[in-house]
Amino acid sequence: MKHLIPEFEKMKERFPAGFEPSLVLPCLHRIQKDRGYVADEDIDGLVAYLGVPRIQVEEVLSYYTMLRREGIGRTHLQICRNIACSMRGAEGVIDHACKRLGVKPGGTTADGKFTLSTVECLGSCGTAPVMMVNDAYHENLTLAELDRLIGELVVEERAGEKK
């Protein structure tokens, strides 16, 4: 975490004075982007850096669904299961993704390539069903498109492994 402190200092500049506690969430976001999850030592570091109570960091971490205490697969597939997406076939998409990857929602493939999650409304209901691949939205998803995407990601992984 320590190597991120210069970045945190820059973030701090944008906030009004006295807003140090507000940095908890943005710092955790940044740490997770760096490591893939938030480790014990990150919490220690953040508590020391921001001077906030440890419980505050722990509470924030455990409350928000986007923050993690453990690593996940290299590609995170998150499929919306809320109403507008379900009305446009999300349930079938989720089933298909589970079968194709051999995992249940929340699970990671044995090779550590994929984690599959279901999520609530992504604010993209007009282009349902919707899936996030890491940070990016894939809208109007079909089963064929899902297969194509997973296939492509597998190929990318293999290319990455060879390098």
Partner: protein, 428 residues
């Protein structure tokens, strides 16, 4: 086209969101006009415009601002609510992606009116392009000296974009504030109102992105001209994001007073695969469903929709085709509310859990006839007994569906299967 446009009134191109394009459309000229006005006169103009909030509750924007009564030398904050978490709603995203400078200019004008030195945009954590667009616009505004530097009359504003991390209650105004304070986003009891004691105990105005986006137009046109759009009781327009079993889903700017059925049948291309319409969720899942017959005589304005027992809410409209199983429909909603309850209030925390269990049981074919009354009883017990509006909202949605489609629940419990085939999709 469903009436005149105030926000989606330009052609979207790959560069129409930039500062250059916004300036070419007359952008930031209204800011100059505003900075030459007395701050209190801006609030007066907004109050006179009759602008109603677009976050869900349709609260008059001017009245909220009026509570703040900025005192020189004191600290006040402004937050734009870009959490957009109400299922069915995706219209603020249109503004963030396509007209981010309209929001920035509006936040500058609002902050000047309210004596704000630091403002925030609270954006949901999943939004990636909308985040990059609004942050990009803010960066451009800094580089152009519109932010972070004193303007001609000395007024200075800084805007911070704050990203959420996947929680529905962060969209609730006090939950949003607690989130920015760096704690878990528990909503707060009121009073005190947030305009009296908000972010870090300082007076804070929180408005929805679309509400704020209207400010520039109101100051440019003047309240009188603004009121010529829409109806006397619902001035202006509303962005309606429509999804579900509709042929042409998307975001539409609708002038208040436009006939509802015409909007669905003509502007939105009617139902998917030529299906028949069963009912509509008018404005986010927390508003009560209305049947096709009920909406037939209505127009899209608060004074038309509210007496029918529902509301335009967040503009998140969902069209539902005949043959859709409303038991399964409610199951998805209750699973969502249960998942998102922050757990602070007993009626919401326990009630959502019970309702979710009951509906799961019904769908599993293990429901008992008393379950329907239990769903009613829990909904009623939540009404007005919780800290934030989520407890009530879940109850309204449930009662709305039970009242109209009780037969489907009875059928499911009796026959251990859906009256239809348990489908949520609309097949060709």
């Amino acid at each position: 086209m469903p009436g005149r446009k105030l926000i989606m009134n330009f052609e979207v191109t790959p560069t129409s969101h930039t500062l250059e394009a916004y300036r070419a459309r007359g952008g930031y000229q209204t800011l100059e006009k505003a900075l030459a006005m007395e701050p209190a006169d801006i609030t007066k103009e907004v109050t006179a415009s009759g602008l109603l909030g677009h976050g869900g509750a349709a609260f008059p924007v001017g009245r909220k601002w009026g509570v703040m009564k900025p005192n020189p030398g004191e600290i006040h904050y402004l937050c734009a609510n870009a959490d957009e978490g109400e299922p069915g709603t995706f219209k603020d995203r249109w503004i963030l992606e396509n007209a981010p400078h309209l929001l920035v200019e509006s936040m500058l004008i609002t902050s000047y009116a309210l004596g704000v030195r630091h403002a925030f945009v609270y954006i949901r954590g999943e939004f990636d392009l909308p985040y990059r667009r609004i942050q990009g616009a803010i960066d451009e505004a800094y580089a152009a000296g519109l932010l972070g530097r004193p303007q001609a009359n000395g007024f200075t504003l800084d805007i911070v974009v704050y990203r959420g991390a996947g929680s529905y209650v962060c969209g609730e105004a006090s939950g949003l504030i607690t989130s920015i304070e760096g704690r878990k986003p528990y909503p707060r009891n009121r009073p005190p109102r947030l305009t009296v004691r908000g972010l870090f105990q300082k007076p804070t105005v929180i408005n929805n992105v679309e509400s704020l986006a209207n400010i520039t137009g109101i100051i440019r046109m003047g309240a009188e001209e603004f009121r010529k759009v829409g109806t006397p009781k619902s001035p202006g327009t509303q962005l309606i994001s429509i999804s579900g079993h509709i042929a042409k889903p998307g975001v539409y700017e609708v002038e208040y007073g436009y006939p509802w059925a015409k909007f669905l049948d003509e502007d939105c291309g009617g139902m998917l695969h030529g299906a028949k319409m069963k009912c509509v969720v008018p404005g986010g899942i927390s508003t009560k469903v209305l049947t096709r017959a009920e909406i037939e005589p209505l127009n899209l304005s608060h004074e038309s929709v509210n007496p029918a027992g529902s509301g335009l809410g967040s503009g998140g409209m969902i069209a539902i085709a005949e043959g859709t199983c409303m038991v399964r429909f409610l199951q998805v909603l209750l699973r969502f509310y249960h998942h998102e309850s922050c757990g602070q209030c007993t009626p919401c925390r326990e009630g959502m859990g019970w309702m979710h269990k009951i509906i799961d049981r019904i769908v599993a074919g293990k429901g008992v006839p008393e379950d329907i009354e239990r769903l009613y009883a829990i909904s009623h017990a939540n009404d007005g007994t919780t800290i934030c509006g989520m407890g009530d909202a879940a109850g309204y949605a449930t009662v709305g569906i039970l009242n109209k489609y009780r037969d489907e629940f009875e059928y499911f419990i009796q026959n251990k299967r859906s009256k239809f085939d348990g489908r949520l999709e609309c097949l060709a």
